[in-house]
Point group: C2
């Protein structure tokens, strides 16, 4: 794609000043328009070292309002950030609605760097493919993020000139300030690499803008024009929902076949509980030492016993090694981002356990059934969720997902008990009763979810929950097995 | 304080179970009450290694709702966190209104660790005194945070027993999981240290709860009872504002004596601007290499030229080395915290520049005059702000604060110009005109602020602003001088 890009020509300074006066005003203008329309914008700057990326971004910043405008770069990532999954940094720094995030080197550089100047050949990021990148970008543009990607192309000669200039100004400090990998002396090799990258990631929803950057003034004009036009065009696009294909009316049935009434005595329970918790305490320490992160998600009917099961689990864990994330309807901050943002930003540090009391599966249950997500949104969520979990698993995160199943009669008994116990009434609300009326619709959605997101790397464990003792032990045992498997003890 | 604490006695298990059944319910109850009353709670657990802190915190967590409940510890701080000022980690993790933050080892441990097992004898945290700690805690309790501090005391014999037990369970992994400094064999020395610490920080607003932890069951009962009673009592306290002393009617005058109309030609401006910006570019690199963080705050009348000055400053800086933080009225998230929280959490990383377009001084200007802060709140703000800046300066942060001064006629001219320029009208609102009517009241508050917060470590630079060229150059020159001073070039 780069070979036909014209690298010659030079824009006279007067001409540049004349165009820029008007263009600068328009940059500020589209920023305000995007803010008013509450559309988040991501600008990606990739390309050769020495293509004057910093200069161009700085020029742009002079025209932009600093409110809601942030610049990021992956060249100065901390060790802590490098221990998280590949896309974690980018999820964490997603722009909120109406804001702009600028990437001075982004996920593209991060992927190249893995291969080119790897500090650690066994680093988990190496497994990241261009398909992962395309999926990530698709999730953003599907959610109405405006994504513009620029590749700044310079000739080998121009690169040498610019780098020599940088070295002259900054001297030895230059490598510290700008520790990106060096392409010099390997221009042809990198040209081939970049061509492949551009071809593999030039998608309909996020095409590359190839910028001839030999003449930095012309490059500025081209980039800023593309930003103004790109944002204007995106804002004009009405969200016309194309007709969706008819949804397959598959009848999945996972739940109705379960034998829910497992029998277990209190004595047997107590004995096994002690044993399991003791085992878990030891295993948590080993997981900590092995730096293996863990994600445990709990879903299930209201009053199915999620809270009690989580307490029996955490009772065995060191309080510094886990946290419990209760997930309710997204709050005012969370609503400013992609729906998966609040899960990515709660990922466990190496060696620790993140427990989710309700999870990202709300998208295909409550959000689907109550209309908080459009058909287009919840339909694509199965794939998005499977992909997210696959990325986590590839990064070495141990994942357990529990569905706590009780039958309708058992739920009725528990609701009544909560109403009658003065210390539990706060746990039961009118909404719980209202949700109960939609049992059948939820059951259909749950069945579908359990089938479509039951993957090898993140399988569902369905827990027969009418007997709380049985349920808790099954959950503890499943977590123990998972830890042992991850530690190579199975 | 510890010598008279009774360490003998043992609570029978049946008695413990009987008390705990009721106490556990009440722990959950006061948590919900604090949440409803929107009062943030901080629980600090300090004391001897081997006092079974983790066990007690875990027991508490079993009774608490995970929503809005977080446990932190300073034993696993990252290198990145250790590079920020002493209290940064604690400001960052302040509980939002209605939430609970638990510290399994807090600022007390962090201070002790500096002195006891210092990794770096020149670390800036060493300068932190008990007065700093008392000030920090006072700022929290003044702002209605409920702060309960527990010191878990055990005898030397009991400590040895408990540590031996830990070692037996966890083996060699123990030191990795719990890397706190070791007191064994130095009990008397540490006893003295802790006595001093407790005496120096046992304040009216944040007294220590000394807990006899030889018997862990009794310790739990004592701590949980103190939490229940402490939160209940705090919630009952009506915010009765004691009569404030009459406010001194000092007539400060800084502004009226200024000669605002500085003369400078466009040619001279352009020439100097180029020179200054070039110098700044070089100095920024040196500051980056020296890892010196920089905070630059801009205050001034509406239309005084803050935005234009900031742009001339940032034009010289590498976009990866600075950010601009525009400060408006606190948003819905920021309102959940102490008013200084949003500044502490925006502190620059080592070697980078954080620019604030309006600052924490809003507390003693707009918040004072518009009644967003009570008299009690804004009166104590001068001291709080001076203390915050002193802490930053002690940590080595370079601080510049600018007040951009224009006269009332000049403001009128600029307002009119903005109204008439189609590209600038968005910059002027009815509120600007309304604020202008309160010029005299603001002038009084500004004069007082400039006098009372003009400290050696963070002096104000008052910028004569009627001539924009002069103002911009003065600001650039001041920043250059600051950088050179910090780099030892003055």
């Amino acid at each position: 794609m780069l070979e036909n890009l014209k690298l010659s020509g030079k824009l006279p300074k007067e001409e540049y000043n004349r165009i820029m006066e008007n263009l600068g005003v328009h940059l500020g203008l589209v920023q305000r328009k995007a803010r008013e329309a509450k559309r988040p914008v991501i600008l990606v700057f990739e390309g050769w070292r020495g293509a004057r990326r910093s200069l161009i971004i700085n020029k742009m910043m002079q025209q932009m309002d600093a409110r809601g405008f942030n610049v990021y770069s992956v060249v100065h990532l901390t060790e802590e950030e490098r221990q998280m999954p590949f896309f974690h940094y980018f999820w964490k720094h997603l722009p909120a609605k109406g804001n702009i995030s600028v990437y001075h080197r982004s996920w593209y550089y991060q992927k190249n760097e893995c291969e080119v100047s790897l500090r650690d050949a066994t680093h988990k990021w190496n497994a990241t493919t261009f398909e992962h990148i395309n999926t990530f970008e698709k999730e953003l543009t599907d959610d109405n993020y405006i994504l513009l990607k620029f590749f700044l192309h310079v000739s080998e000669k121009k690169q040498k000139e610019n780098l020599a200039k940088n070295y002259k100004t900054l001297g030895k400090a230059w490598r510290e300030v700008s520790p990106a990998y060096d392409e010099t002396g390997r221009y042809e090799e990198f040209l081939e690499r970049y061509e492949k990258m551009l071809a593999a990631t030039d998608t309909v929803n996020a095409p590359w803008h190839l910028i001839s950057a030999n003449d930095s003034r012309q490059a500025q004009i081209d980039i800023f024009t593309a930003i103004v036009e790109g944002i204007e065009a995106a804002l004009k696009t009405k969200n016309v929902e194309e007709a969706l294909p008819v949804y397959p009316n598959n009848s999945y049935d996972v739940l109705s076949t379960l034998a829910l009434d497992k029998d277990i005595t209190k004595e047997e329970y107590k004995e096994k509980l002690d044993k399991y918790q003791e085992r878990l305490t030891t295993l948590q320490i080993e997981m900590f030492r092995a730096k293996i992160p863990v994600v445990i998600g709990f879903e299930g009917w209201d009053a199915a016993g999620k809270g009690g099961a989580i307490r029996r689990l955490t009772a065995a864990l060191d309080p510094l090694g886990f946290n419990v994330n209760p997930i309710a309807a997204p709050n005012v901050v969370e609503r400013q981002f992609h729906y998966l943002w609040r899960f990515w930003t709660r990922l466990p540090r190496p060696g620790t356990v993140a427990i989710f009391d309700r999870t990202w599966y709300g998208r295909v249950m409550v959000e689907r059934l109550e209309g908080f997500a459009t058909a287009r949104e919840w339909r694509r969520a199965y794939e998005e969720i499977n992909d997210m979990e696959a990325q986590w698993a590839e990064h070495g995160i141990a994942i357990a997902k529990f569905w706590l199943q009780i039958d309708k009669d058992e739920q009725y008994r528990r609701f009544k008990e909560r109403e009658e116990n003065p210390y539990k009434t706060w746990k039961i609300t009118d909404e719980d009763w209202r949700n109960r009326e939609k049992w059948d619709a939820y059951e259909g959605a749950v069945n579908e979810m359990l089938v479509r997101t039951n993957t090898e790397h993140a399988p569902w464990t369905i827990v027969e929950g009418n007997n709380k003792y049985y349920a808790r032990l099954k959950i503890l045992k499943t977590v123990i097995d998972l830890f042992e498997k991850k530690l190579g003890k199975d």
